[in-house]
């Protein structure tokens, strides 16, 4: 069966150029879809399960890295992992990081020679990948761990001591110790304490930068947890981790990317 690829690129001229170049270099490759943003890319990947995904890093909706993280998270054990090739115009993500791991990257403008090398590498890897999906998934997770800034958090100045949550004319001051977890919703972040909830209008990313790293960790795309509030990490039948909390009944999902935080000693 011919291999199938998806191109996710928000700039139409660049998407068209990559498509043309791929048709020339790899006539057997079937184009399973063109996505102009991260959300469409995720949807098309779910629908068509392509063998290869070319992901632009800067896209509206979800970034290429976030799409890859989502793929790594939602795949069941033993499912086939698409080969991911990141495409970027500017090496803000320290391209060295891509060199060490096996996933490929392309720098725009994509030249004929460079794309030919990528195609050759992809053909080799596709022949290999069918045999060991678990190893492929592990490789992708390891790769993303080096690339996603949220995973490789360094010790930085944590300035926040209270969460200031407004409701009407009042601003509630919530000490960090009382916070069990933060969960991002559409436009807000929900601050969940032992006995209540409050909404704040900041992004999870901004919040994470100001929280003490030894105590508050991101465990999922939409969740930052207070490690002191966690009582146990439980693995379900599908191999996914969930956190149980001391003072709350609900459980929290843990992304594969952050699972190492809860490995036994």
């Amino acid at each position: 069966m011919n291999p199938r690829a998806l191109i996710a690129e928000d700039e139409p001229l660049l998407a068209a150029q990559l498509e043309t170049q791929l048709r020339e270099l790899w006539p057997e490759l079937h184009l399973a879809g063109l996505a102009a943003n991260g959300v469409d890319a995720m949807r098309l990947i779910r629908e068509h399960a392509p063998d290869i995904a070319f992901l632009d890093i800067r896209m509206p909706g979800l970034t290429g890295l976030e799409v890859a993280a989502e793929i790594a998270d939602t795949l069941g054990e033993g499912e086939r992992v698409p080969q991911i090739v990141f495409v970027t115009a500017y090496d803000e993500y320290a391209l060295k990081a891509f060199d060490y791991a096996a996933v490929d990257y392309l720098l725009k403008p994509v030249t004929h020679e460079r794309l030919a090398a990528t195609v050759a590498r992809l053909k080799l890897r596709l022949a290999d990948a069918g045999r060991a999906p678990a190893a492929e998934l592990g490789r992708l997770v390891a790769q993303l761990q080096t690339l996603l800034p949220a995973v490789q958090r360094s010790a930085q100045a944590a300035t926040l001591r209270h969460i200031r949550a407004g409701s009407g004319n009042t601003v509630r001051m919530i000490p960090l110790d009382e916070v069990c977890y933060f969960q991002s919703t559409d436009k807000y972040v929900n601050v969940v304490t032992v006995n209540g909830e409050a909404l704040v209008r900041v992004s999870l990313k901004e919040l994470l930068e100001q929280l003490p790293a030894d105590k508050f960790r991101q465990v999922h795309r939409s969740v930052i947890v207070n490690l002191d509030a966690v009582s146990a990490a439980v693995r379900d039948d599908a191999g996914r981790l969930h956190l149980q909390l001391r003072a709350r009944k609900e459980t929290l999902p843990v992304s594969r990317l952050f699972a190492e935080l809860f490995k036994q000693m």
């Binding site: 001229l13 150029q17 500017y90 403008p109 994509v110 436009k187 992004s203």
Partner: protein, 347 residues
Amino acid sequence: MTPPNRLAACATLPRNVLYTAIFCTVIAALLAAIGFGSGFGVNFVYSQCIGLPACLLADGGRRLLWPGRRAPLALLLPLLAASMLFAWFCGTWFGALLLGHPWRAQSYLTSLVITAAAGFVAVLYFWEREKVAELETEAALQKSRAETVERQAAQARLALLQAQIEPHFLFNTLANLHALIGADPARAQAMLSHLNDFLRASLSAARKDRNTLAEEFALLRDYLELLSIRMGTRLAFRLDLPRELAQIQVPPMLLQPLVENAVKHGLEPKIDGGEVTVVARREAGRVVLQVADSGLGFGAAATSGTKVGLAHLRERLAATYGAQASLDIADNAQGGASVTLSLPMPA
């Protein structure tokens, strides 16, 4: 100024003690020359015995009491008088002891007058020296301040330049050009000429103090044309500059950072994209410039980093117009953000 440190304040005390010793020697010699006392040797012993403790008490005392600053005169004068009286008493007594003279206050009264006169001259001398030194320090401080201001201005120009030619913008534009050259050479040429004009305007803005609004809007048009080639149908824009305002002068690249923010934080992250409008109008004798977009809006934009840009813009407005310019940011009624600048109408 560094905080006062008593030890550091005494650093030049030994030098003043040395000057005092020389001054006392000169006085002893002068007195011997006019035939006062029993010769240079005896005068020398007495003048040093009085002069050195006087200097230590007066100069040392003021340094310890008021480290690193000028002493208030009302307190300094009693200190000087007391130091001299005490030094005269101790000095004559100790000198008499050294030389084996009997000590009687009456026989040393002339030396009290000499001590007072010499002390007065010495105080005047040191006072003047200190004033000169202070003036020199002040001049050096002012010079370094001027240098700092100059360096900051140079850094600001550099930052402005770097902000305009953001690497992501440049590389993405080049990548699009690369794609167009093969697919549509005519459009590629048009794009290249927009890039050329935009880069030229950016580079010259870093060296200029003023741009006309016509130049500013031309630069925005080039910038937005480049972005709309990249973003395709996701970006629409409208520029509206009435002819009567075209020659109004403003700081160069005043609006470009606002348009960049509108696209970067409002429209680029929005899946459907949207429109940017830049409007200049005359309102109650003022020039009003407004950059509005139909993007995500200030509150909802997940991308942060607009604050630094806006703070920088506020500084530039304050530096040019003082308190006469204002900058207002707001979320649009139809979603998206808008920034409004209100500038005084030039006379």
